[in-house]
């Protein structure tokens, strides 16, 4: 195990966050604050409670998930795409470091960063609305697994992308819509019956539902299923990453 190598990549990636502190952390926080002003205060004031939780508090877990999903994907994809684009990846490829260790460094750093963002948003949200967390450890667990899974997804996107446009396309065209339709701002029980069935194909539904359960103890789908789904997603991403390194796909010519 090349411990120093993993540490070097991990710290390098986190240092990139510090260098771009404003856009890394301030902008998601600002976005969240805007969501709270619009949805929480302006619209939420006209909405009744959902499953006994005020609308402002109801959207907190969904918002955090939304941010963690998008941040994980974009950070991890950018982190590995940049060295590929600038050519500095030669150094990583020529180093005595295994594929697993490379992934650990990059994905670990991206996941850490979105975890931090998630927690900052949690604190920010507390300034706007009153809420409590029923199962704090589960909450952290869901947050961690989600950050990890979507950082892996981002890593895969970054490796496969062959241009900056491609880098944006999956986060903008897939992750964002799925996150919005995944029950971020509503409970899926509020949907017409047919849609209630359809949304079950959206993996984000399980994440948001499980995460919301850790806050308020109510969920759209059983929490064990949420956990199973996120594990499956994680394993699929891991398998793709393994395959990429085994074949050298888009990494080694």
């Amino acid at each position: 195990m090349n411990y120093y190598g993993v540490k070097a990549i991990y710290l390098f990636e986190l240092a990139r966050t510090w260098r771009t502190l404003l856009q890394s952390i301030a902008s998601p926080v600002l976005t969240t604050a805007l969501y709270f002003v619009v949805f929480g205060s302006a619209i939420g004031g006209h909405m009744g409670d959902i499953e006994g939780v005020s609308y402002g508090a109801f959207i907190v877990p969904g918002l955090i998930m939304l941010m963690v999903l998008t941040e994980s994907t974009s950070n991890a994809s950018f982190g590995i795409y940049m060295p590929k684009f600038s050519g500095t990846i030669y150094e990583i490829l020529s180093a005595p470091i295994s594929a697993f260790e490379i992934v650990l460094g990059y994905v670990g750093a991206a996941a850490t960063k979105s975890l931090i963002i998630g927690l900052i948003i949690l604190v920010t949200a507390r300034l706007f609305v009153d809420f409590s967390i029923a199962h704090p450890l589960w909450m952290l667990g869901f947050l961690f697994l989600t950050a990890l899974a979507f950082s892996l997804l981002g890593f895969i996107i970054g490796i496969c992308a062959d241009g900056f446009e491609r880098l944006q396309i999956v986060p903008a065209m897939v992750v964002m819509p799925l996150a919005f339709l995944g029950g971020t701002f509503y409970s899926i029980t509020m949907l017409p019956p047919l849609w209630q069935k359809l949304v079950l194909f959206n993996p984000v539904v399980y994440l948001v539902s499980g995460f919301r359960w850790s806050f308020y103890g109510t969920a759209d789908v059983p929490v064990t299923i949420s956990l199973a789904m996120i594990s499956v997603f994680l394993v699929i991403c891991l398998a793709i990453v393994c395959w990429i390194f085994k074949t050298g796909y888009r990494v080694r010519s």
């Binding site: 990549i9 710290l11 060295p83 030669y90 150094e91 020529s94 180093a95 005595p96």
Partner: protein
């Protein structure tokens, strides 16, 4: 003695179907400076990239310090440093962060004293807190060298270290490379320039179209490669070569106005006797020029020689 790098029957076909290496065999001895000489597209970078683990090999195998670069990549790569052809370096980092990163990446614990000495040797220490984008091209290249040396490798690959570098820096580079050799580092460099290979290397390998066509000690090779031609533009045409000039390797152009003389750059007294003879024969000339056979010409003739 076991070679530090052993390449055996190495081939490489890129995904595009292009055959970049066609059965390369090469041994690098410990402690030598080896120059890989070849024209654009010969396969120099491909060969180096395979040894360093950046490009997947085709058939054949490569051992570094006795370790297979694919199966035992950790042990093989730990002893290798690479300075790439392109100036690929993260522009937003400081010099210090860059070398520290490289050392860690190669699995070595931090050693600030070593890195400080390294940067001093490369005259980079006063720039250590400068962002790399604010450095000149020559300094960036030295940063790449510092990164390659940060983990104290025994084998250093330099892919065209003097491309785009001015004369003074080129001299510095050569001095530095020799100093590294003194410390026991084995050095493999690539170049387009015969003069550079001649000046620097203990042994030279010539690569052309994915094949090593010659590996030799410097002296032997220079004798084969170091040929030039002198063209003499006469003021009056000659019908035939005068008797007195037949002992030179001369050819006369069809119109009789131009004499072409092939000679060896190693031979110090090649031109003067010819000019004295022209003087003695009262042959006047309006122009003289010399040119070196291009590397491409030389490679082609070497390939033909080998096929013959």
């Amino acid at each position: 003695m076991q070679p530090v790098i052993a390449v055996e029957g190495l081939t490489k076909v890129y995904a595009s179907g292009f055959e970049a290496l066609r059965g390369v065999d090469l041994s690098i001895h410990k402690g030598e400076i080896f120059a890989l000489l070849g024209p654009n597209g010969a396969g120099k970078t491909t060969l180096i990239s395979i040894i360093c683990g950046i490009v997947n090999p085709g058939d054949g195998r490569v051992l570094a310090n006795g370790w297979d670069v694919v199966k035992d990549y950790r042990r093989a790569r730990a002893s290798i440093g690479l300075v790439p052809q392109e100036l690929s370096v993260n522009m937003f980092e400081t010099v210090w962060a860059a070398v520290k990163f490289s050392r860690g990446l190669f699995g070595k614990p931090a050693n600030d004293a070593y890195l400080e000495k390294l940067l001093r040797d490369l005259s980079l220490y006063d720039k250590k807190d400068t962002k790399i984008m604010a450095l000149s091209g020559g300094m960036k290249r030295r940063v790449l060298i510092a990164k390659a040396l940060a983990h104290e490798p025994e084998i250093l690959f330099l892919d065209e270290p003097t491309a785009g570098v001015d004369v003074e820096l080129r001299r510095d580079m050569w001095t530095m490379i020799r100093a590294l050799r003194e410390q026991g580092v084995t050095i493999i460099l690539t170049t387009h320039y015969i003069e550079e290979a001649e000046e620097m290397a203990d042994r030279i390998g010539v690569i052309h179209q994915g094949e090593i066509i010659l590996v030799d000690g410097k002296q032997n090779l220079m004798n084969q490669l170091g040929r030039k031609q002198l063209s003499v533009q006469l003021t009056a045409p000659l019908d035939a070569l005068p008797e007195r000039l037949t002992r030179y390797q001369l050819s006369l152009s069809d119109d009789g106005y131009q004499l072409v003389y092939h000679y060896d750059t190693q031979n110090q007294a090649a031109i003067a006797p010819l000019l004295r003879d022209l003087e003695a024969l009262s042959l006047d000339y309006s122009d003289l020029h010399t040119n070196q056979s291009s590397l491409e010409d030389i490679f082609v003739s070497l390939v033909e020689e080998r096929r013959a």
